[in-house]
């Protein structure tokens, strides 16, 4: 990739860092949430599920707008930033991670919840009759059986974070090395008529997206076969 300016690589690296960190945190948060949504019998859980799914239909700018307020000096984000003497979480990498988590949450929670629901009650009952406590049953049976759902959730969460634009622009701006991720960089290159960089990055995203979609399809087929 000779001749590409260093700011391209900075943007690529930043994007990967953001997506990896977001995916890891999403699995950590999303798995227990999906477990609760799949197994709880409380009536209001579908309300929670609807809130989790909202980013699917909400315009990213609307989401970004509220996040901006929440992360800003007068919101909880500002209070947290005050702990280390900053004024705001907006326009920072940490703010971007928080925004990405909210934005990509449904893409991770839904496949994992589906996997937990699809396995039904039986494997956990079997585990209980084999002396496994509920926690052991979760680790030794439910999680391994939900693996296809976990992988699909991780892939979708990662890909969706890489492709995010509207929310980033609202809460992150385009600070090179801090918040200027790929999608924003492409926008910037087009604005400044740097067509070569914009073209290369866009082509890279097309290939990336294709690989991601293909991977999820293949994973889904494998899971379907394993489940039959």
């Amino acid at each position: 990739m000779q001749g590409l300016s260093p700011d391209v690589w900075i943007a690529v690296r930043l994007t990967l860092e953001l997506a990896l960190l977001t995916t890891a945190l999403l699995l950590l948060l999303g798995t227990p949430l999906a477990w609760w949504l799949a197994r709880s019998r409380v009536r209001w859980k579908e309300g929670v599920a609807a809130v989790v799914a909202m980013p699917l239909v909400l315009p990213p700018t609307v989401l970004g707008f509220y996040l901006l307020i929440a992360l800003g000096p007068d919101g909880p984000g500002g209070a947290i930033a005050g702990l280390w003497g900053a004024r705001t979480l907006a326009f920072s990498f940490a703010g971007l991670v928080i925004g990405s988590i909210v934005y990509s949450l449904p893409f991770v929670v839904q496949p994992i919840r589906n996997a937990f629901e699809a396995m039904g009650e039986r494997p956990l009952e079997v585990a209980a009759t084999l002396r496994a406590s509920p926690a052991q049953a979760f680790w030794r049976v439910a999680l391994p059986l939900a693996r296809p759902g976990l992988i699909t959730g991780a892939v979708l969460g990662f890909a969706h974070t890489v492709g995010e634009f509207g929310v980033v622009l609202m809460i992150g701006g385009a600070v090179p090395g801090k918040t200027k991720v790929l999608s924003v960089a492409i926008y910037d290159y087009v604005e400044t008529s740097r067509w070569r960089e914009a073209g290369l990055l866009s082509a890279g995203m097309v290939v990336f997206s294709f690989v991601v979609i293909l991977a999820t399809i293949l994973l889904g087929r494998r899971a379907a076969r394993a489940g039959s």
Binding site: R122, E125, T129, L130, S133, Q136, L145
Partner: protein, 356 residues
């Protein structure tokens, strides 16, 4: 020898479940009744998988009483579900060892693997197994969790005829080889006849009766004796392994019966089944009959079955205190021979089938 004592109440679809029974904590107790009568619900409640009001005690352990409910994973049960329900992410060996203490392959591992014929399957995944193989793995998995009570919920009903025939001998061997008490749910009387020592009869959410199998089978007031395929299961010993002409002699108390030879040694215990339809009655020992088994007996009770048939409960003179047998005869012969309760007769047993 302790007791299994269970008493549960709750709702079961359209009717109320109110079931209570006691059974010895030894041997095989069949939980028998038509589909939907609540057998499975009771079994699940004993395992702690369903939470019903009531009590449950096994030997000296209390699993449930007022204000106390031991969760399923703290009850030393082995549970075999109707469908094998193997863990798809584990190999056969992984499934077997899932509930084994510390996942340690102790000496019992080899024994159980041998008993169930699983040795050559150990390294395989569970995907490619046949229905019968899967259920054998499920049984082995339950046994290896070192249960104090084995619960089986129609373990054969999801299998095809061939797989059933393959598993039943394993279950018989299991019942004889281990001291483990078993509760066995089924709606198939043939399985009860081959496996059970004790029977709990259920109907529409209630326990109708319970007791030793042969007593229940020969109780004229219970639906079993009136059924078309009514039969009595007796325990016998081999008196002579070769009685000539391809026959063997069996002793039930002091009564002798001849049956087609099977591979057995003198003194071996066998179960034999005598169907009510295979027993006819005569007033004297017939001198010219093709039937080889003619046993002096007395009629203990009798009842009309339908327009044409009577059912008689017989006590064998040579086996006092042993189980009764049943005879189904026509009402016409009953009248013409002048039979009545208390009469001495000769029971002619046309067929004796060995239950392994």
């Amino acid at each position: 020898m302790g007791l299994i004592r269970a008493r549960f109440a709750g709702r079961l679809g359209r009717f109320a479940l109110d079931a209570a029974f006691e059974a010895p904590a030894a041997g095989v107790t069949g939980l028998f009744g038509p589909s939907g009568c609540g057998k499975t619900t009771v079994l699940r409640a004993i395992a702690g998988l369903n939470r019903l009001a009531g009590e449950c005690r096994v030997g000296d352990e209390t699993w449930q009483e007022v204000g106390r409910f031991v969760p399923a994973h703290r009850r030393a049960v082995g549970y075999v579900f109707q469908e094998p329900s193997l863990f798809a992410h584990l190999s056969v060996e992984g499934n077997l060892l899932f509930g084994a203490p510390k996942r340690w392959r102790g000496p019992s591992f080899e024994e159980i693997v041998d008993l169930l014929g699983l040795a050559r399957l150990l390294g395989r995944g569970v995907e490619g197994l046949s229905g019968g193989e899967r259920q054998r793995v499920a049984i082995g998995r339950a046994l290896l969790s070192e249960p104090r009570l084995l619960l089986m919920d129609e373990p054969l009903s999801a299998l095809d005829q061939q797989a059933r025939a393959e598993i039943l001998p394993f279950l018989e061997r299991l019942a004889r080889a281990t001291a483990l008490p078993m509760l066995y749910v089924t709606h198939d009387m043939r399985e009860i006849e081959r496996l059970a020592d004790h029977l709990v009869l259920m109907q529409a959410g209630r326990v109708v009766a319970s007791g030793p199998l042969a007593d229940m089978q020969s109780d004229p007031d219970l639906p079993l004796a009136a059924a078309r395929e009514a039969a009595v299961t007796l325990s016998a010993r081999v008196a002579a392994a070769d009685a000539g002409d391809g026959l063997m002699a069996l002793a039930v108390g002091g009564a002798r019966l001849l049956a087609p030879r099977v591979l057995a040694r003198e003194g071996d215990a066998l179960r034999l089944r005598i169907a009510a339809g295979d027993v006819s009655l005569a007033l004297s020992r017939p001198a010219d009959s093709t039937i080889v088994n003619s046993l002096p007996a007395s009629i203990r009770s009798a009842r009309v079955l339908n327009d044409s048939d009577m059912l008689a409960v017989l006590a064998l003179d040579e086996a006092p205190g042993e189980a009764r047998i049943l005879a189904r005869v026509t009402r016409r012969s009953w009248r013409e021979l002048g039979l009545s309760e208390g009469r001495a007769v000769h029971a002619q047993v046309k067929g004796v089938s060995l239950q392994g």
